[in-house]
């Protein structure tokens, strides 16, 4: 739990220090997310909407999927393809989308 809180704290700091990302290039991997996670107004199915979500929350979830501490069906396999820096950048970019 302590590790999770630290991850949230780090992600939150990183996210809030990078507001310019909203209008900038999406970081590597970020645009693939919308294959499953809607960019529309509301999630059409059971897969959550990520645009505008808190970056720390996304980062915590991805870190948990990657190390297996959070249960997942497919996100564990996907999270393992990204470093901490990459995940933080993606989380911040998703959070900045409307």
């Amino acid at each position: 739990m302590k590790a999770l809180r630290v991850a949230v704290a780090i992600a939150t700091v990183v996210a809030s220090s990078l507001p310019a990302l909203a209008a900038s290039e999406p970081p590597p991997g970020a645009t693939s997310c919308s294959g499953c996670h809607t960019t529309g107004a509301a999630a059409a199915g059971s897969v959550s909407r990520l645009y505008g979500r808190d970056a720390g929350e996304i980062m915590t979830a991805m870190a948990g999927f990657r190390d297996g501490s959070l249960p997942a069906t497919v996100m564990n396999r996907i999270a393992k393809g990204f470093s901490d820096d990459e995940l933080r950048a993606i989380a911040a970019w998703l959070a900045a989308q409307k």
Partner: protein
Amino acid sequence: MGTSLRISRREFVGASAATITALAFPLPAFAQAAPRVVVIGGGFGGASCARALKAIDPKLQVTLVEPNKTFTACPFSNNVIAGLRSIEAQQFGYDKIAASGVTVVEQAATAVDAAARTVGLADGTTLSYDRLVLSPGVDLRFDALQGYDEAAATKMPHAWKAGEQTLLLRKQIEAMDDGGLVVIAVPANPFRCPPGPYERACLIAHYLKGKKPRSKLLILDAKDTFSKQRLFQNAWKELYPGMIEWVSLSQGGKVNAVDPATNTLITDFGNHTAQVANVIPPQRAGRIATIAGATDNTGWCAIDPVTFESKSAPNIHVIGDACLAGAMPKSAFSANAQAKTCARAIATLLSGGSPATPKLINTCYSLAAPDYGISVAGVYQPKNGVLADVEGAGGVSPADAPREFRAREADYAQSWFTTITAEVFG
């Protein structure tokens, strides 16, 4: 222009000089006004790319060339064959894409002049481009399987392009007597939707189990291994015991010829006469890619893994099933992910920049039954000139998962289809 009304003498002189230059050389100024991107093919790749280009830079002139008024999606079309879904649920129009500012031209592209940067259409008109995107999908190789041509496909459907063929296979399975034999012939790699034939076997078996339980299903395969193999084979045992038989390449599974008159599939090891024969022939990139000079001797398109630009045809990008995307499989998810990466790279190139190295994801669900989903996922990045797997990531669903897990993946599969088709066409 609206920043200030006060113009200094120096700025005024500068502006005048610019005006004179513009008047003296009017053509280059016009030519640079709004870069033109033409996208050929309105499937998951092309439609996604056209839309993404316009979203990234609304100033771009984006034209989508697609002869069909309605797109019929392949993912979930196996559900139509199994009687679990209507074909209408697979169909999408281009109105919203046109409303987003993309010019949709309802024509077939018949010519590409890579040197002149023009596309010729079936009605004789010509479109000029600064960058061209080809997303033509696959062509079925009617030359690759003796006896199998377009006429044979009306008797032995491939149903590997969704629409009439999907409905034909559905009708044949519905009309078949209990105790009949369904044969699915599967080609060697690469081909569109690698797990598709095995999902099809599952869903046809699902229908037969309920309605015609004495029937059998035979898969004749030109391969010794296939996508999600262990998961599919476990599902066959668990859900359809004794119904599905898979014959691998080394067991004589490769179909060399077919006889549509007798519904017979011919292998080195013998003949199989089917009540319903679903022949999925070998494939290649859609013909326009060859016309454009973008295919190599494999019939597919080699591309730069950062920009998706053709390795043989400059200023022409190839995405989706037609391209050789390294480790990325030919799926709708891949086509959509590639489209968004390619659109970003094109916008960057057109503004004089250098595209960043991308990462791409694929996620592909298959249904072994309506409430039994399995998946494969991967993360990819350019390495040694191709898109390679990011090591340690990706893979298939666990082999030992409980049914609740399979049910969740089946639910996510449905959700995926709704979300991706809304992003592309909605």
